[in-house]
Amino acid sequence: MLKNYLKIAFKVLLRRKFFTFVSLFGISFTLVVLMVATAMLDHLFAPLPPEVNQDRTVSITRASMFGDRSSWSASAGYRLLDQYVRNLPGAERTSFFKSPDQVYSYPNGNKVRVFLKRTDGEFWRILRFDFIEGAPYTADDLESARLVAVITRTTRERLRLGQTAMGRTIEVDGQRFRVVGVVEDVPRLRVIPFAEMWAPYTTVKSDSYKAELLGEFNAIVLARDRAAIPGMQEELKSRLARAELPDPKSYKKLVAPLESTFDAMARTDLRTEDSHSERLWLMMAGGALLFMLLPTVNLINLNVSRIMERASEIGVRKAFGASSRTLVGQFIVENLVLTMVGGVVGFAASILVLRAISASGVVPYADFRLNYRIFLYGIALAVFFGVFSGVYPAWRMSRLNPVQALKGAAR
């Protein structure tokens, strides 16, 4: 039966080439936009290297102090992390690092801007960078505030260090660093690992950061397993509740949420407990649906027209006893075949579009790619789209009056 449907479907597609082209154009275009958006989200949130342990990693990227009248939001300060985030129960490793600074280097009179992230040694053990040369610096380098640095492949190129940068000295932000390692580029949108150069945080010019409760530091905590995360969050919350605040008259409460990158993005207000990640999911799904609205109406219109053209065929089938349900089923299958073909075309086009976006450099170091996850999403979207746009025309078709349909005078 299904084989027959498929055969008819392909025959119909080939009969009116203009209609088929227009339908396919709409379907593929819609899927391209949705798949490109999915690929970008995947690029943001999926556990790609260097964030290989992302499923059991949580981070602190923002902190706030609240009072009755005033609030103060920033990144966490070193003192907050040092006093309250170390040794959380269930934590396997904990790393502190400064938010990246834009710093400058002037090799041979050219100006090169570099994002420098100052970290500790544990940073390299939670995140797995791909080293082309050398190795990361260690806790010992941090302890002795050695001016050592890891740079990316592109930074090596931009600073004109040739093929081997190991052991070379670079002058950045008025300080001279010795290069100990070179890693592959990291996408800009991966906020936790991203930088173009890394150095121990003890090399900052002034150690005033040590006294800061709010400041420019972030933390990542690798939990032993996923189940340990809620316990760590509770413990941190109760530690912060007992924290001594520097100015208790103006500020009464200290908040520093420990959460996944997605939850952190969904959070709009640090004061509320809930991170609103469900709301962000709903908003993304709602956006996709809203976008699909116009293409769906377009496809429904085309489908209705096509069916009316086949009125006499439907009349014959009805006259010979085909039930409405059979006809609806047949039409939905036909529409699914169409959307699947559109899906394949769209998938191929998405590869080209993503390649163009990556190459355009709109997002530095972005390498948007399609993978099996996105492919599965794409298939799901195509099926959804196919059913969504096929139901109404199929219902219209099944309600045709066989006598009128046989005469080809459907309205």
């Binding site: 209609f19 710093v103 377009n298 027209s305 053209e309 219209r396």
Partner: protein
Amino acid sequence: MIRHYLKLIWNRRRSNLLITIEIFFSFLVVFGVVAMAAYYGNNYRRPLGFTIDDVWVVNIDAKLQGLPGNQPNPQGIIETGRQLRLAVVEFPEVRALASCFTVPYGNSRWMSTSKVGGREIAYSMDGVTDGFAEVFGLTLVQGRWFNRDDDAAGWDPVVVNEHLAADVFDTVNPVGRTFPQDKPSPGEKQKEWRVVGVIREFRQDGELALPENYLMIRVRLDDVESALSLGRLPIKVRPGTTAAFEERLVKRMQEVARDWSFEVEPAIDMREQKLRDTLTPLIAAGVIAGFLMLMVALGLTGVVWQSVTQRTREIGLRRAKGATIPDIRTQVMGELAVMATIAVLLGAAIVVQFPLLKLVGNVTAGVYAASLVISSLSIYLLTLASAWYPSRMATSVPPAEALHYE
């Protein structure tokens, strides 16, 4: 005529309803993109209020954002700042120099509000030194700019732009009057702000931003409170100065202040970054909308074509009764035009609600109206273009054949 079209449309109401819905959604999409573009376009042609030719901005990171009450040695910082300025001015390439909190095209903004006659007036502000007007080429329409004599005054001189002057002082000449400040928090003393001059415009976020209320207050570098937070050092350099000078400048500043970090950025680069950040979403939306409209146009062509084929006999009959070819074409296009009108009216009725419900901020009525007109015209163009080819097909079958068409 139109009543006749309406009757014909009503006869095929189910298919036509879907077509109308499609045109309606297309209208909303087009309107969204057109309104966004019109908004930026309208802003772009307004005066900016400053120039950034040969302006470089030095950002100073003196690591001062500590805890309240945890500021390290303020006098030392003031002294380092003073030496830093002297060192910068010494370069022959530097023509003028200023200090300020925020700069045009920068990412920070200082907002304030004042109550005037029960109304809350919001404005952006900046604390600047005397050199600011020269660096950014400000021209005054009334009064004067700050100068050294202001050191002796017992009040803080401020310069406002015309918008703010009109908002606060209405038609009265603001020069020499006291600017109403927000009430200070208890225990805080407050100096009088006196307007000494008026500038025409100052749009901090640049060409694509709306005109805004702006106030500049003169800051003194020997004042502890303000000197600590003056993190921007805009300089005007000689035309033709290259990046090589930048390196020398940073090296020299680094010598004076070893613990601080410096970042030098030509203002023109900051401008470009700002424009790109603002326009990228618009371009992305425009490209997607463009493809959507192409899809709709092709889709409508298919639908109208199909309906014309189905109505071959009806059209044949009309022609047999004396309708000319242009008559038939007008009919096909006219029916779609009537549906487009219904969709556009519906869309306009919904879109007009947004300003009434205050869902869109800052878009002026003129821009809104212009966007409505442009997007309606685009929709008509789109639907007529879609109907054009099918309308020709409708008349390609001779009436005699059409009458017994199956």
